[in-house]
Amino acid sequence: MKEAEDIPVISVKNMYKKFGNFIANDNLNFHVKKGEIFGFLGANGAGKTTAIKVLCGLSKPTSGTINVAGYDVYTQTEEIKRNIGYMSQKFSLYEDLTVEENFRFFTGIYRVHRKEIKLRMKSSLNEAGLWEFRKRLVSSLPLGWKQKLAFSLATFHKPRIVFLDEPTSGVDPIARRSFWEQIYKATQNGTTVFVTTHYMDEAEYCNRVSVMEQGKIVALDNPSELKKQYNVNNMFDLFLKIVR
Protein backbone atom coordinates (compact mmCIF):
# COMPACT_ATOMS: atom_id res chain seq x y z
CA MET A 1 0.00 0.00 0.00
CA LYS A 2 1.27 3.48 -0.85
CA GLU A 3 1.87 5.74 2.13
CA ALA A 4 -0.65 8.53 2.35
CA GLU A 5 0.80 11.99 1.92
CA ASP A 6 0.74 14.27 4.90
CA ILE A 7 -1.72 16.81 3.53
CA PRO A 8 -5.09 16.87 5.31
CA VAL A 9 -8.04 16.79 2.90
CA ILE A 10 -10.52 16.59 5.75
CA SER A 11 -9.91 18.42 8.96
CA VAL A 12 -12.36 18.33 11.84
CA LYS A 13 -11.91 20.38 15.01
CA ASN A 14 -14.29 20.35 17.99
CA MET A 15 -17.24 19.25 15.90
CA TYR A 16 -20.60 19.03 17.65
CA LYS A 17 -23.94 18.10 16.18
CA LYS A 18 -26.94 18.24 18.47
CA PHE A 19 -30.58 17.38 17.87
CA GLY A 20 -32.36 19.09 20.77
CA ASN A 21 -30.85 17.60 23.89
CA PHE A 22 -29.36 14.68 22.01
CA ILE A 23 -25.67 14.97 21.17
CA ALA A 24 -25.12 12.90 18.03
CA ASN A 25 -21.52 14.07 17.50
CA ASP A 26 -19.70 14.98 20.67
CA ASN A 27 -16.51 16.98 20.12
CA LEU A 28 -15.03 15.09 17.17
CA ASN A 29 -11.41 15.84 16.31
CA PHE A 30 -9.60 14.16 13.44
CA HIS A 31 -8.07 14.70 10.05
CA VAL A 32 -7.81 12.55 6.95
CA LYS A 33 -4.72 12.67 4.76
CA LYS A 34 -4.54 12.82 0.98
CA GLY A 35 -4.61 9.36 -0.61
CA GLU A 36 -5.52 7.69 2.66
CA ILE A 37 -8.11 4.96 3.20
CA PHE A 38 -9.80 6.09 6.37
CA GLY A 39 -12.11 3.58 8.09
CA PHE A 40 -14.94 5.15 10.05
CA LEU A 41 -16.22 2.43 12.36
CA GLY A 42 -18.82 2.34 15.10
CA ALA A 43 -21.93 0.55 16.28
CA ASN A 44 -25.32 1.29 14.68
CA GLY A 45 -26.54 4.56 16.14
CA ALA A 46 -23.06 5.75 17.24
CA GLY A 47 -23.36 8.87 15.07
CA LYS A 48 -21.45 7.88 11.91
CA THR A 49 -24.14 8.81 9.41
CA THR A 50 -24.70 12.17 11.11
CA ALA A 51 -20.99 12.96 10.80
CA ILE A 52 -20.82 11.83 7.17
CA LYS A 53 -23.75 14.09 6.29
CA VAL A 54 -21.91 17.06 7.76
CA LEU A 55 -18.70 16.17 5.89
CA CYS A 56 -20.62 15.87 2.60
CA GLY A 57 -22.14 19.32 3.06
CA LEU A 58 -25.67 17.95 3.50
CA SER A 59 -26.16 19.04 7.09
CA LYS A 60 -24.68 21.88 9.14
CA PRO A 61 -22.83 21.09 12.36
CA THR A 62 -23.92 22.78 15.59
CA SER A 63 -20.37 24.03 16.16
CA GLY A 64 -16.76 23.32 15.28
CA THR A 65 -14.29 24.08 12.49
CA ILE A 66 -14.59 21.62 9.62
CA ASN A 67 -12.84 21.70 6.28
CA VAL A 68 -13.43 19.24 3.46
CA ALA A 69 -11.32 19.31 0.30
CA GLY A 70 -10.23 22.79 1.34
CA TYR A 71 -13.77 24.13 1.72
CA ASP A 72 -15.76 25.23 4.73
CA VAL A 73 -18.82 23.12 5.64
CA TYR A 74 -20.83 26.17 6.73
CA THR A 75 -20.42 28.39 3.72
CA GLN A 76 -19.05 26.36 0.80
CA THR A 77 -21.24 23.28 0.64
CA GLU A 78 -21.69 23.49 -3.15
CA GLU A 79 -17.92 23.48 -3.66
CA ILE A 80 -17.66 20.49 -1.32
CA LYS A 81 -20.27 18.53 -3.26
CA ARG A 82 -18.41 19.16 -6.50
CA ASN A 83 -15.18 17.78 -5.03
CA ILE A 84 -16.47 14.62 -3.40
CA GLY A 85 -18.08 11.38 -4.52
CA TYR A 86 -20.61 9.47 -2.44
CA MET A 87 -21.85 5.92 -2.55
CA SER A 88 -24.07 4.05 -0.12
CA GLN A 89 -25.33 0.52 0.10
CA LYS A 90 -28.93 1.62 0.47
CA PHE A 91 -29.24 3.79 -2.56
CA SER A 92 -26.73 4.15 -5.30
CA LEU A 93 -28.29 3.46 -8.69
CA TYR A 94 -31.58 3.59 -10.58
CA GLU A 95 -32.69 -0.02 -10.92
CA ASP A 96 -34.96 0.58 -13.92
CA LEU A 97 -32.33 2.34 -15.99
CA THR A 98 -29.62 0.49 -17.91
CA VAL A 99 -25.96 0.53 -16.90
CA GLU A 100 -25.25 3.10 -19.62
CA GLU A 101 -28.23 5.29 -18.69
CA ASN A 102 -27.19 5.34 -15.04
CA PHE A 103 -23.73 6.28 -16.19
CA ARG A 104 -24.89 9.24 -18.28
CA PHE A 105 -27.28 10.39 -15.55
CA PHE A 106 -24.85 10.39 -12.64
CA THR A 107 -21.82 11.71 -14.50
CA GLY A 108 -24.07 14.46 -15.90
CA ILE A 109 -25.15 15.41 -12.39
CA TYR A 110 -21.52 15.64 -11.37
CA ARG A 111 -21.10 18.11 -14.24
CA VAL A 112 -18.72 16.05 -16.32
CA HIS A 113 -18.77 17.37 -19.89
CA ARG A 114 -20.71 15.28 -22.40
CA LYS A 115 -17.68 14.85 -24.66
CA GLU A 116 -15.60 13.61 -21.79
CA ILE A 117 -18.28 11.17 -20.69
CA LYS A 118 -18.34 9.70 -24.18
CA LEU A 119 -14.57 9.54 -24.27
CA ARG A 120 -14.05 7.87 -20.91
CA MET A 121 -17.19 5.78 -20.42
CA LYS A 122 -15.85 2.78 -22.30
CA SER A 123 -12.59 2.57 -20.40
CA SER A 124 -14.32 3.13 -17.09
CA LEU A 125 -16.94 0.43 -17.73
CA ASN A 126 -14.26 -1.90 -19.07
CA GLU A 127 -12.27 -1.47 -15.91
CA ALA A 128 -15.31 -2.44 -13.85
CA GLY A 129 -15.88 -5.39 -16.20
CA LEU A 130 -19.27 -4.00 -17.23
CA TRP A 131 -18.84 -2.75 -20.81
CA GLU A 132 -20.52 -5.77 -22.41
CA PHE A 133 -23.45 -5.40 -20.01
CA ARG A 134 -24.01 -1.71 -20.69
CA LYS A 135 -27.46 -2.28 -22.22
CA ARG A 136 -28.69 -4.35 -19.26
CA LEU A 137 -31.09 -2.99 -16.66
CA VAL A 138 -29.31 -2.41 -13.40
CA SER A 139 -32.00 -4.43 -11.61
CA SER A 140 -30.81 -7.56 -13.43
CA LEU A 141 -27.20 -7.30 -12.20
CA PRO A 142 -25.77 -9.15 -9.19
CA LEU A 143 -25.23 -6.88 -6.19
CA GLY A 144 -21.44 -7.11 -6.47
CA TRP A 145 -21.55 -5.65 -10.00
CA LYS A 146 -23.92 -2.90 -8.98
CA GLN A 147 -21.53 -1.86 -6.26
CA LYS A 148 -18.65 -1.78 -8.73
CA LEU A 149 -20.68 0.37 -11.08
CA ALA A 150 -21.71 2.66 -8.23
CA PHE A 151 -18.07 3.09 -7.28
CA SER A 152 -17.04 3.90 -10.86
CA LEU A 153 -19.78 6.53 -10.94
CA ALA A 154 -18.87 8.02 -7.59
CA THR A 155 -15.27 8.49 -8.75
CA PHE A 156 -15.73 9.35 -12.45
CA HIS A 157 -15.58 13.12 -11.92
CA LYS A 158 -12.20 12.60 -10.20
CA PRO A 159 -13.29 13.77 -6.77
CA ARG A 160 -10.65 14.45 -4.16
CA ILE A 161 -12.52 12.37 -1.60
CA VAL A 162 -14.97 9.53 -2.01
CA PHE A 163 -17.33 8.60 0.83
CA LEU A 164 -18.39 4.94 0.92
CA ASP A 165 -21.16 4.06 3.36
CA GLU A 166 -21.23 0.27 3.90
CA PRO A 167 -20.33 -0.41 0.26
CA THR A 168 -19.98 -4.18 0.62
CA SER A 169 -22.92 -5.28 2.80
CA GLY A 170 -24.31 -8.60 1.53
CA VAL A 171 -21.86 -8.88 -1.38
CA ASP A 172 -20.25 -12.30 -2.06
CA PRO A 173 -16.71 -12.91 -0.74
CA ILE A 174 -14.96 -12.64 -4.10
CA ALA A 175 -16.84 -9.51 -5.17
CA ARG A 176 -16.17 -7.96 -1.78
CA ARG A 177 -12.43 -8.41 -2.28
CA SER A 178 -12.41 -7.23 -5.86
CA PHE A 179 -14.28 -4.15 -4.65
CA TRP A 180 -11.47 -3.42 -2.22
CA GLU A 181 -8.93 -3.82 -5.01
CA GLN A 182 -10.89 -1.16 -6.91
CA ILE A 183 -10.56 1.07 -3.83
CA TYR A 184 -6.80 0.51 -3.69
CA LYS A 185 -6.45 1.46 -7.34
CA ALA A 186 -8.34 4.69 -6.73
CA THR A 187 -6.02 5.66 -3.90
CA GLN A 188 -2.96 5.10 -6.11
CA ASN A 189 -4.22 8.09 -8.13
CA GLY A 190 -4.38 10.20 -4.98
CA THR A 191 -8.09 9.86 -4.27
CA THR A 192 -8.88 9.81 -0.57
CA VAL A 193 -11.32 7.14 0.63
CA PHE A 194 -13.57 7.56 3.65
CA VAL A 195 -15.33 4.28 4.33
CA THR A 196 -17.71 2.65 6.83
CA THR A 197 -18.15 -1.09 7.12
CA HIS A 198 -19.47 -3.78 9.44
CA TYR A 199 -16.99 -6.35 8.10
CA MET A 200 -14.16 -6.16 10.58
CA ASP A 201 -11.66 -7.85 8.25
CA GLU A 202 -12.15 -4.87 5.93
CA ALA A 203 -11.09 -2.53 8.72
CA GLU A 204 -7.64 -4.09 8.30
CA TYR A 205 -7.44 -2.78 4.73
CA CYS A 206 -7.61 0.83 5.93
CA ASN A 207 -4.54 2.99 6.58
CA ARG A 208 -6.18 4.30 9.71
CA VAL A 209 -9.46 3.63 11.45
CA SER A 210 -11.50 5.51 13.99
CA VAL A 211 -14.07 3.88 16.25
CA MET A 212 -17.11 5.86 17.36
CA GLU A 213 -19.11 5.12 20.45
CA GLN A 214 -22.10 7.18 21.57
CA GLY A 215 -21.17 10.23 19.56
CA LYS A 216 -17.48 10.27 20.48
CA ILE A 217 -14.38 8.98 18.73
CA VAL A 218 -12.91 6.61 21.29
CA ALA A 219 -10.02 5.17 19.26
CA LEU A 220 -8.08 6.32 16.22
CA ASP A 221 -4.89 4.89 14.75
CA ASN A 222 -3.61 2.44 12.17
CA PRO A 223 -4.96 -1.10 12.62
CA SER A 224 -1.72 -2.72 13.82
CA GLU A 225 -1.13 0.02 16.41
CA LEU A 226 -4.71 -0.30 17.69
CA LYS A 227 -4.41 -4.07 18.00
CA LYS A 228 -1.21 -3.64 19.97
CA GLN A 229 -2.72 -0.98 22.18
CA TYR A 230 -5.77 -3.08 23.06
CA ASN A 231 -3.85 -6.34 23.11
CA VAL A 232 -6.07 -8.18 20.59
CA ASN A 233 -5.35 -10.28 17.50
CA ASN A 234 -7.87 -8.87 15.10
CA MET A 235 -10.18 -5.95 14.49
CA PHE A 236 -13.29 -7.93 15.40
CA ASP A 237 -12.00 -8.45 18.95
CA LEU A 238 -10.88 -4.85 19.07
CA PHE A 239 -14.35 -3.68 18.15
CA LEU A 240 -15.96 -5.91 20.77
CA LYS A 241 -13.54 -4.68 23.39
CA ILE A 242 -14.12 -1.02 22.65
CA VAL A 243 -17.84 -0.99 21.98
CA ARG A 244 -19.05 -3.43 24.59
Binding site: A43, I174, H198, M200, E204
Partner: protein, 304 residues
Protein backbone atom coordinates in the same frame (compact mmCIF):
# COMPACT_ATOMS: atom_id res chain seq x y z
CA UNK B 1 -38.67 -31.74 10.91
CA UNK B 2 -38.11 -29.94 7.59
CA UNK B 3 -37.89 -32.16 4.57
CA UNK B 4 -37.32 -30.24 1.33
CA UNK B 5 -37.20 -32.15 -1.93
CA UNK B 6 -36.03 -30.87 -5.32
CA UNK B 7 -37.34 -27.33 -5.00
CA UNK B 8 -37.05 -25.15 -8.08
CA UNK B 9 -38.20 -21.61 -8.66
CA UNK B 10 -37.82 -19.31 -11.66
CA UNK B 11 -38.60 -15.65 -12.16
CA UNK B 12 -39.16 -14.71 -15.82
CA UNK B 13 -36.94 -17.51 -17.00
CA UNK B 14 -34.15 -16.77 -14.49
CA UNK B 15 -33.61 -19.64 -12.10
CA UNK B 16 -33.58 -18.52 -8.45
CA UNK B 17 -33.54 -22.03 -6.99
CA UNK B 18 -32.26 -25.07 -8.86
CA UNK B 19 -33.47 -28.40 -7.56
CA UNK B 20 -32.67 -27.84 -3.90
CA UNK B 21 -33.04 -30.62 -1.30
CA UNK B 22 -32.17 -30.60 2.40
CA UNK B 23 -33.38 -31.78 5.80
CA UNK B 24 -33.42 -29.98 9.11
CA UNK B 25 -33.69 -31.87 12.41
CA UNK B 26 -35.92 -30.80 15.25
CA UNK B 27 -34.17 -28.39 17.63
CA UNK B 28 -31.40 -27.66 15.14
CA UNK B 29 -29.95 -24.23 14.34
CA UNK B 30 -29.51 -24.49 10.60
CA UNK B 31 -27.82 -21.75 8.57
CA UNK B 32 -27.95 -20.84 4.90
CA UNK B 33 -24.72 -19.00 4.17
CA UNK B 34 -24.47 -17.12 0.90
CA UNK B 35 -24.33 -13.70 -0.70
CA UNK B 36 -27.12 -11.47 -1.91
CA UNK B 37 -28.88 -13.09 -4.87
CA UNK B 38 -28.03 -16.67 -3.88
CA UNK B 39 -31.73 -17.56 -3.54
CA UNK B 40 -32.00 -17.51 0.26
CA UNK B 41 -35.05 -15.25 0.44
CA UNK B 42 -36.97 -17.16 -2.22
CA UNK B 43 -36.29 -20.38 -0.38
CA UNK B 44 -37.43 -18.93 2.94
CA UNK B 45 -40.63 -17.59 1.43
CA UNK B 46 -41.36 -21.07 0.12
CA UNK B 47 -40.67 -22.58 3.56
CA UNK B 48 -43.12 -20.17 5.16
CA UNK B 49 -45.85 -20.80 2.52
CA UNK B 50 -45.62 -17.26 1.14
CA UNK B 51 -44.35 -18.30 -2.28
CA UNK B 52 -45.19 -21.32 -4.42
CA UNK B 53 -42.31 -23.38 -5.79
CA UNK B 54 -42.45 -24.27 -9.52
CA UNK B 55 -41.67 -27.86 -8.60
CA UNK B 56 -40.59 -29.94 -5.63
CA UNK B 57 -42.16 -30.12 -2.22
CA UNK B 58 -41.47 -29.14 1.38
CA UNK B 59 -42.86 -30.79 4.47
CA UNK B 60 -42.63 -29.31 7.93
CA UNK B 61 -43.56 -31.74 10.71
CA UNK B 62 -45.22 -33.76 7.99
CA UNK B 63 -47.36 -30.86 6.80
CA UNK B 64 -47.05 -29.78 3.21
CA UNK B 65 -46.27 -26.07 2.84
CA UNK B 66 -48.62 -25.73 -0.14
CA UNK B 67 -51.68 -27.77 0.88
CA UNK B 68 -51.47 -27.26 4.64
CA UNK B 69 -50.44 -23.61 4.57
CA UNK B 70 -52.86 -22.63 7.31
CA UNK B 71 -51.29 -25.01 9.75
CA UNK B 72 -47.78 -24.12 8.58
CA UNK B 73 -48.39 -20.48 9.42
CA UNK B 74 -49.49 -21.40 12.95
CA UNK B 75 -46.32 -23.30 13.73
CA UNK B 76 -43.88 -21.03 11.92
CA UNK B 77 -42.47 -17.65 12.91
CA UNK B 78 -40.94 -15.65 10.08
CA UNK B 79 -38.72 -12.62 10.17
CA UNK B 80 -38.32 -11.25 6.64
CA UNK B 81 -35.15 -9.58 5.41
CA UNK B 82 -36.67 -6.15 5.14
CA UNK B 83 -38.04 -4.42 8.22
CA UNK B 84 -41.68 -5.36 7.96
CA UNK B 85 -43.30 -3.94 11.06
CA UNK B 86 -45.61 -0.97 11.28
CA UNK B 87 -43.36 2.09 11.58
CA UNK B 88 -46.13 4.33 12.89
CA UNK B 89 -47.25 1.95 15.60
CA UNK B 90 -45.40 1.82 18.89
CA UNK B 91 -43.22 -1.10 19.92
CA UNK B 92 -45.96 -2.45 22.17
CA UNK B 93 -48.72 -1.92 19.58
CA UNK B 94 -46.77 -3.89 16.99
CA UNK B 95 -46.31 -6.78 19.35
CA UNK B 96 -49.96 -6.66 20.43
CA UNK B 97 -51.04 -6.65 16.80
CA UNK B 98 -49.09 -9.79 15.97
CA UNK B 99 -50.28 -11.50 19.14
CA UNK B 100 -53.93 -10.73 18.29
CA UNK B 101 -53.59 -11.94 14.70
CA UNK B 102 -52.45 -15.29 16.05
CA UNK B 103 -55.16 -15.41 18.68
CA UNK B 104 -52.93 -14.96 21.69
CA UNK B 105 -51.79 -12.19 24.04
CA UNK B 106 -48.45 -10.74 25.08
CA UNK B 107 -49.13 -11.89 28.62
CA UNK B 108 -49.81 -15.49 27.65
CA UNK B 109 -46.56 -15.94 25.76
CA UNK B 110 -44.38 -13.44 27.58
CA UNK B 111 -42.10 -16.20 28.84
CA UNK B 112 -41.08 -17.05 25.28
CA UNK B 113 -40.05 -13.55 24.25
CA UNK B 114 -38.79 -12.39 27.66
CA UNK B 115 -35.05 -12.42 26.91
CA UNK B 116 -35.51 -10.66 23.61
CA UNK B 117 -38.28 -8.24 24.55
CA UNK B 118 -36.66 -7.27 27.87
CA UNK B 119 -34.09 -5.28 25.99
CA UNK B 120 -36.57 -3.08 24.15
CA UNK B 121 -39.33 -2.95 26.75
CA UNK B 122 -38.07 0.34 28.24
CA UNK B 123 -38.91 1.87 24.83
CA UNK B 124 -42.30 0.21 24.38
CA UNK B 125 -44.10 3.52 23.82
CA UNK B 126 -41.70 4.56 21.07
CA UNK B 127 -42.77 4.28 17.45
CA UNK B 128 -41.14 1.34 15.70
CA UNK B 129 -39.88 3.61 12.89
CA UNK B 130 -37.83 5.60 15.44
CA UNK B 131 -35.89 2.61 16.77
CA UNK B 132 -32.20 2.00 16.03
CA UNK B 133 -31.28 -0.91 13.74
CA UNK B 134 -30.47 -3.30 16.55
CA UNK B 135 -33.69 -2.52 18.39
CA UNK B 136 -35.85 -2.95 15.27
CA UNK B 137 -34.32 -6.38 14.91
CA UNK B 138 -35.20 -7.37 18.44
CA UNK B 139 -38.76 -6.15 17.98
CA UNK B 140 -39.11 -8.10 14.73
CA UNK B 141 -37.79 -11.20 16.49
CA UNK B 142 -40.26 -10.70 19.35
CA UNK B 143 -43.12 -10.40 16.85
CA UNK B 144 -42.01 -13.55 15.04
CA UNK B 145 -41.98 -15.44 18.36
CA UNK B 146 -45.15 -14.18 20.00
CA UNK B 147 -47.36 -17.09 18.85
CA UNK B 148 -44.91 -19.66 20.23
CA UNK B 149 -43.88 -21.21 16.90
CA UNK B 150 -42.06 -24.52 16.62
CA UNK B 151 -39.99 -23.28 13.73
CA UNK B 152 -38.37 -19.88 13.45
CA UNK B 153 -37.30 -18.69 9.99
CA UNK B 154 -34.98 -15.68 10.03
CA UNK B 155 -34.00 -14.07 6.74
CA UNK B 156 -30.70 -12.18 7.09
CA UNK B 157 -31.42 -10.74 10.52
CA UNK B 158 -27.85 -9.49 10.92
CA UNK B 159 -27.22 -7.85 7.54
CA UNK B 160 -26.08 -4.24 7.96
CA UNK B 161 -25.85 -4.69 11.72
CA UNK B 162 -22.67 -3.82 13.62
CA UNK B 163 -20.36 -6.53 14.96
CA UNK B 164 -21.43 -6.15 18.58
CA UNK B 165 -25.18 -6.29 17.89
CA UNK B 166 -24.59 -9.29 15.65
CA UNK B 167 -22.90 -11.10 18.49
CA UNK B 168 -25.73 -10.25 20.89
CA UNK B 169 -28.30 -11.44 18.39
CA UNK B 170 -26.64 -14.84 18.09
CA UNK B 171 -26.53 -15.12 21.86
CA UNK B 172 -30.29 -14.58 21.93
CA UNK B 173 -30.71 -17.37 19.37
CA UNK B 174 -28.63 -19.71 21.49
CA UNK B 175 -30.99 -19.03 24.43
CA UNK B 176 -34.05 -19.66 22.28
CA UNK B 177 -32.61 -22.92 21.06
CA UNK B 178 -32.43 -24.19 24.63
CA UNK B 179 -36.23 -24.11 24.70
CA UNK B 180 -36.30 -26.59 21.83
CA UNK B 181 -37.31 -24.30 18.98
CA UNK B 182 -35.92 -25.14 15.53
CA UNK B 183 -34.23 -22.21 13.82
CA UNK B 184 -33.44 -21.71 10.14
CA UNK B 185 -31.41 -18.59 9.48
CA UNK B 186 -29.69 -17.01 6.49
CA UNK B 187 -26.67 -14.72 6.50
CA UNK B 188 -24.08 -13.30 4.11
CA UNK B 189 -21.52 -13.18 6.96
CA UNK B 190 -19.33 -16.27 6.58
CA UNK B 191 -18.02 -15.97 10.15
CA UNK B 192 -21.53 -16.71 11.44
CA UNK B 193 -21.37 -20.23 9.98
CA UNK B 194 -19.45 -21.33 13.06
CA UNK B 195 -22.44 -20.45 15.23
CA UNK B 196 -24.80 -22.87 13.48
CA UNK B 197 -25.21 -26.60 14.16
CA UNK B 198 -25.19 -27.27 10.44
CA UNK B 199 -24.88 -25.00 7.42
CA UNK B 200 -25.72 -25.07 3.75
CA UNK B 201 -23.41 -22.96 1.58
CA UNK B 202 -25.58 -21.52 -1.16
CA UNK B 203 -24.79 -19.61 -4.35
CA UNK B 204 -26.76 -19.00 -7.58
CA UNK B 205 -29.70 -21.09 -6.35
CA UNK B 206 -27.61 -24.18 -5.64
CA UNK B 207 -26.38 -25.72 -2.43
CA UNK B 208 -22.61 -26.11 -2.69
CA UNK B 209 -22.17 -28.05 0.53
CA UNK B 210 -24.19 -29.07 3.63
CA UNK B 211 -22.61 -30.22 6.88
CA UNK B 212 -21.50 -29.21 10.34
CA UNK B 213 -19.18 -26.22 9.95
CA UNK B 214 -16.38 -28.16 11.64
CA UNK B 215 -16.75 -31.01 9.14
CA UNK B 216 -16.75 -28.68 6.15
CA UNK B 217 -13.44 -27.31 7.35
CA UNK B 218 -11.98 -30.73 8.24
CA UNK B 219 -12.96 -32.25 4.91
CA UNK B 220 -11.46 -29.46 2.86
CA UNK B 221 -8.54 -31.02 1.08
CA UNK B 222 -6.36 -28.06 0.20
CA UNK B 223 -3.55 -26.52 2.20
CA UNK B 224 -4.20 -22.87 3.00
CA UNK B 225 -1.28 -20.55 3.73
CA UNK B 226 -1.37 -17.21 5.40
CA UNK B 227 1.12 -14.84 3.74
CA UNK B 228 2.33 -11.49 4.96
CA UNK B 229 4.94 -8.95 3.84
CA UNK B 230 5.59 -5.24 4.13
CA UNK B 231 3.84 -4.19 0.94
CA UNK B 232 0.53 -6.05 0.97
CA UNK B 233 -0.89 -4.73 -2.29
CA UNK B 234 2.23 -5.64 -4.26
CA UNK B 235 2.29 -8.97 -2.44
CA UNK B 236 -1.24 -9.73 -3.61
CA UNK B 237 -0.36 -8.84 -7.20
CA UNK B 238 2.82 -10.92 -7.16
CA UNK B 239 1.08 -13.95 -5.66
CA UNK B 240 -1.61 -13.71 -8.34
CA UNK B 241 1.14 -13.60 -10.97
CA UNK B 242 2.69 -16.85 -9.73
CA UNK B 243 1.82 -19.68 -12.17
CA UNK B 244 1.34 -22.19 -9.33
CA UNK B 245 -1.36 -20.04 -7.68
CA UNK B 246 -4.92 -21.22 -7.32
CA UNK B 247 -6.26 -18.47 -5.04
CA UNK B 248 -4.79 -15.40 -3.39
CA UNK B 249 -7.24 -13.26 -1.46
CA UNK B 250 -6.90 -10.64 1.24
CA UNK B 251 -8.21 -11.74 4.65
CA UNK B 252 -7.83 -8.90 7.08
CA UNK B 253 -4.13 -8.17 7.57
CA UNK B 254 -2.91 -11.30 5.75
CA UNK B 255 -3.39 -12.95 2.37
CA UNK B 256 -4.82 -16.46 2.22
CA UNK B 257 -3.06 -18.45 -0.43
CA UNK B 258 -3.65 -21.85 -2.01
CA UNK B 259 -1.72 -23.39 -4.87
CA UNK B 260 -2.72 -25.83 -7.58
CA UNK B 261 -2.36 -29.49 -6.61
CA UNK B 262 -0.55 -28.48 -3.43
CA UNK B 263 2.61 -28.52 -5.51
CA UNK B 264 4.49 -26.06 -3.29
CA UNK B 265 5.54 -25.80 0.30
CA UNK B 266 6.05 -22.69 2.41
CA UNK B 267 9.72 -22.53 1.50
CA UNK B 268 8.99 -22.32 -2.25
CA UNK B 269 6.60 -19.47 -1.64
CA UNK B 270 9.13 -17.56 0.46
CA UNK B 271 11.79 -18.04 -2.23
CA UNK B 272 9.51 -16.77 -4.95
CA UNK B 273 8.62 -13.69 -2.90
CA UNK B 274 12.25 -12.98 -2.00
CA UNK B 275 13.01 -12.97 -5.72
CA UNK B 276 10.28 -10.35 -6.11
CA UNK B 277 12.10 -8.19 -3.55
CA UNK B 278 9.53 -8.50 -0.77
CA UNK B 279 10.60 -7.88 2.81
CA UNK B 280 9.40 -9.20 6.21
CA UNK B 281 7.86 -12.24 4.50
CA UNK B 282 5.85 -14.60 6.71
CA UNK B 283 4.28 -17.78 5.34
CA UNK B 284 2.34 -20.16 7.60
CA UNK B 285 -0.05 -23.04 7.15
CA UNK B 286 -3.40 -22.20 8.74
CA UNK B 287 -6.76 -23.82 9.37
CA UNK B 288 -9.01 -22.55 6.58
CA UNK B 289 -12.20 -20.70 7.41
CA UNK B 290 -15.57 -21.16 5.81
CA UNK B 291 -14.91 -18.13 3.63
CA UNK B 292 -11.83 -19.81 2.06
CA UNK B 293 -13.92 -22.84 1.25
CA UNK B 294 -16.80 -20.77 -0.06
CA UNK B 295 -14.47 -18.93 -2.43
CA UNK B 296 -13.01 -22.22 -3.62
CA UNK B 297 -16.45 -23.76 -4.20
CA UNK B 298 -17.63 -20.62 -6.00
CA UNK B 299 -14.66 -20.64 -8.34
CA UNK B 300 -14.76 -24.33 -9.15
CA UNK B 301 -18.48 -23.91 -9.96
CA UNK B 302 -17.70 -20.94 -12.21
CA UNK B 303 -15.02 -22.92 -14.03
CA UNK B 304 -17.25 -25.89 -14.72
Amino acid sequence: MIDANSISKQYNGTAALKNISFQVEEGELFGFIGPDGAGKSSLFRILTSLLLPDSGQVKIFGFNVVDDYKHIRKITGYMPGRFSLYSDLSVEENLEFFATVFGTTIKENYHIIRNVYNQIEPFKKRRAGKLSGGMKQKLALSCALIHNPKLLVLDEPTTGVDAVSRKEFWELLKDLKKNGITIVISTPYMDEAQLCDRVALIQHGEILSVDKPGNIIRNYNRVVYSVKADNMYELLKDLRGFPETLHAYAFGDVIHYTCKNDSLDAENIVLYLENKQHSSIEVNIITPDIEDIFIDLMQSKNNQ
